[in-house]
């Protein structure tokens, strides 16, 4: 259909999905060359919220950089805390006590659930359904209250420290989390009945926005985008870290490569995260949350270190080049959404505008993370 339309109509016009737009979550500009309702060419333009986090990494001590990690992807900030803390601990050879690792996993997985719930609400909002957003925010509010009672923040957490955590959790948190999981388990069927099985939504998402496996590999897409195209790659299983090997959870993979597959991957990931949290709460050991001989000043040995974690949006990698001082020489942040967005130019050619926006929503973009 698009070939026919394009051959008959020689004229295209440029539509600017500007930095201010309800559907581009954040300041993303997409230059679209439109052929009627079809997109002939699209080009995402980034950089509207570049805040030079990597440069700040060179001018701050290792501990002073912690708040920056939370401001990258503010929806899943604890994974980013974990990524940074993990590479510095690896470089400086700091051992993390077991209780701290378990609590890290619990809070990271809760944060992942919160991030996916927000993505779910915002995605359906882009498609025109206004209500599931507020139901998702109601659940998310419970998580944020729990995390606030432990870390003191609701969005930009600065909770992990080199070697452990800042605060310990208490019994209220444990009972609250168990109650929350029970509540969310009861509400998930409502989400599936209201949204997933809805015929309007399935017509909107099935076979729309096909991202083939080679395209994902070519652009380095990771996370639910890659797992919705049939590739089984999750850093928690393929390159295990922390105490993830001790938990029994699945990594959902769908091979249809359409927007519906990516949607289902994230919905299933919410369920799997709940399983991990339940198991972690049961196995939680007692003990300290910081090592006894925690170094006061962190000075990793000179060298080049890299490590990756599975954030809510994909593989978040941190590479540090240390020259033995108390500041990094170079700090490189590998943002998963940057790679996910780079396939948008090729993937959206020939699509309807509405479908292209559904595709953008299913990629789960958080622009501050792309621009750092």
């Amino acid at each position: 259909m698009s070939e026919l339309a394009r051959s008959q109509n020689q004229e295209t016009f440029v539509l600017n999905l500007g930095p201010q737009h309800p559907a581009t979550h954040g300041v993303l500009r997409v230059k679209l060359e439109m052929d009627g309702e079809y997109i002939a060419k699209s080009e995402p333009v980034l950089g509207y919220i570049h805040r030079m986090h990597e440069k700040m990494g060179e001018n701050r001590t290792w501990a002073q950089f912690m708040p920056n990690t939370a401001r990258l992807d503010y929806l899943g900030a604890l994974s980013y805390n974990q990524g940074y803390v993990k590479v510095v601990e690896q470089a400086a050879g700091i051992e993390v006590p077991e209780r701290a690792e378990y609590i890290r996993v619990i809070t990271v997985e809760l944060n992942r659930i919160a991030s996916h719930l927000l993505w779910f609400g915002a995605f359906v909002l882009d498609l025109g359904g206004f209500t599931p957003l507020l139901y998702a925010f109601d659940d998310r509010e419970q998580i944020l209250d729990l995390l606030e009672s432990v870390t003191g923040a609701r969005l930009t957490f600065c909770y992990f420290r080199f070697g452990g955590l800042y605060n310990d959790i208490d019994d209220d948190f444990i009972t609250g989390t168990k109650a929350f999981i029970k509540r969310l388990r009861k509400r998930m069927p409502d989400y599936h009945n209201l949204v997933t099985n809805n015929i309007i939504l399935t017509k909107r998402l099935k076979d729309i926005g096909i991202l083939s496996t080679e395209m994902c590999r070519k652009y380095g897409a990771t996370g639910p985008v890659l797992r919705g195209s049939g590739v089984q790659y999750d850093v928690r299983k393929n390159e295990p870290y922390s105490v993830y090997p001790e938990f029994d959870f699945d990594v959902p993979v769908y091979s249809e490569c359409d927007s519906m597959a990516r949607y289902m991957v994230r919905m299933d990931e919410i369920e799997q995260s709940m399983r991990i949290v339940e198991q972690a709460l049961e196995k939680l050991p007692d003990g300290p949350i910081m090592p006894e001989k925690a170094p006061k000043i962190i000075k990793p040995a000179p060298g080049d270190y890299y490590s990756a974690v599975e954030a809510a949006r994909g593989t978040f990698g941190v590479r540090i080049v240390s020259d033995g001082t108390n500041k990094a020489y170079r700090l490189k942040l590998r943002s998963p959404t940057f790679s996910n967005l780079s396939l948008y130019g090729e993937a959206s050619e020939g699509m309807l505008l509405a479908d292209a926006l559904a595709l953008m929503g299913s990629l789960d973009l958080v622009i501050p993370e792309i621009d750092r």
């Binding site: 309702e37 882009d126 025109g128 359904g129 209500t131 809805n198 017509k203 505008l353 509405a354």
Partner: protein, 384 residues
């Protein structure tokens, strides 16, 4: 003054006209002014009442929509301005009136300014034939049904001119979508209406309601002997009226998250207010038609008559009409806040591949039943 200069310039002649004409007319009517025939007096009062009804609906349906949306989303809607937020629409109206009527550079001046009126005026005109009660009709036109659909077709022109005249690419895209949507959904609606006219043998709306006299089972929606697919016909009519008025899930025209505000992006202040009023007036007209054709109009569902003050509430009359109308409008709002938006292809597919075949099937079945039912009835009666 809080009104902007341009608004003042446009409104002043109307205000002066109103202030001069109202005492003249009222005084003339009171003394039975011989130059004004009584029928004309009645129509003037009726039209003024209908415009007030349309405007009041436009204002307070917004309030109802915000409250319904809020409770579906587990929150309270407007509550600060007045008790339960009832003054909110008035305050919003004042805000809209006090804004400058921006006319952006490069628009077609006549089309841009005329477009909102083309959406509002036909809807208000259509109110003239709607029977609110047995005696409360502004003008009981014999081809009332045809007149309403004739005016409804002008609605799409308003959207097209507004979108095209706005010199804004988003608006043009939305106008193009809205035209194809309206054309596609007029067809099943009209086929269903033709089916009803075949059954009722008249296009006079008051007579259609009077044919549904009796109890609930006499309403056309339950008269399965005229057509076994009658409830389905009601659903088709309802869905088509949602699509004709650009309500969700068929609101591609003003798809908020994709096209900012679609065809009314460039309208500010009262220009947008008039579009808004027109949309709600169209919703009221569409649902009034559904109530009249299928749900018995002003007939009460109880088969019996009551006396005294109980009869005031429970007998046939305007209260039942309004009750049914607002139940249907509540359903319209409920649907808006539940479903996501269809794509253009999904919408056109629904109309051309599902609604039109089903409504044609209904038409055939109705034609068949009308001819065959007397014979089938004697067969069944004879057998029993």
């Amino acid at each position: 003054m809080f009104l902007h200069t341009e608004t003042r310039r446009i409104l002043t002649p109307f205000i002066i006209l109103g202030l001069v004409a109202t005492p003249l007319l009222a005084g003339g009517l009171y003394v039975g002014w011989p130059l004004v025939p009584s029928e004309l007096q009645r129509i003037i009062i009726a039209v003024v009442a209908l415009i007030a009804f349309a405007a009041g609906n436009a204002a307070y349906l917004v309030w109802l929509e915000r409250k319904v949306a809020a409770h579906i989303q587990c929150r309270i809607g407007p509550k600060e301005v007045g008790p339960f937020g009832l003054i909110q629409p008035l305050v919003d109206g004042i805000k809209l009136m006090s804004k400058q009527l921006l006319v952006p550079k490069g628009v077609d001046p006549y089309l841009f300014k005329v477009a909102p009126l083309l959406v509002l005026v036909p809807a208000v005109m259509s109110f003239v034939t709607i029977p609110f009660s047995e005696n409360l009709v502004a003008r009981n036109i014999d081809i009332g049904l045809l007149m309403i659909f004739a005016f409804a077709s002008v609605n799409v022109m308003g959207i097209l001119l507004g979108g095209w005249g706005s010199a804004n690419k988003y608006a043009i895209i939305s106008a193009a979508r809205a035209v194809s949507q309206n054309v596609a959904y007029e067809i099943p609606m009209l086929i269903t209406v033709i089916t009803m006219v075949m059954v009722t043998h008249t296009m006079n709306l008051n007579e259609i309601v009077m044919q549904q006299d009796g109890s609930v089972l006499d309403w056309y929606i339950f008269r399965l002997t005229t057509s076994p697919l009658m409830p389905v016909a009601f659903l088709i009519f309802f869905i088509c009226s949602l699509a004709e008025t650009n309500r969700a899930p068929f609101d591609l025209g003003e798809a908020e998250s994709e096209l900012i505000a679609g065809f009314h992006t460039e309208y500010a202040g009262m220009g947008f207010g008039v579009f808004f009023m027109g949309e709600y007036a169209n919703i009221v007209i569409g649902n009034s038609l559904a109530v009249i054709l299928f749900l018995g109009g002003w007939q009460s569902p109880l088969g019996m008559e009551f006396g005294g003050w109980l009869g005031f509430f429970l007998n046939d009359g305007i209260l039942w009409f309004l009750a049914k109308l607002y139940v249907l409008i509540f359903c319209v709002m409920w649907i808006r806040w539940t479903y996501p938006r269809t794509t253009l292809w999904g919408l056109l597919n629904l109309s051309w591949k599902y609604l039109i075949p089903i409504s044609l099937l209904n038409l055939l079945l109705t034609g068949g039943m009308i001819k065959l039912w007397p014979y089938l009835k004697t067969l069944i009666m004879g057998a029993s």
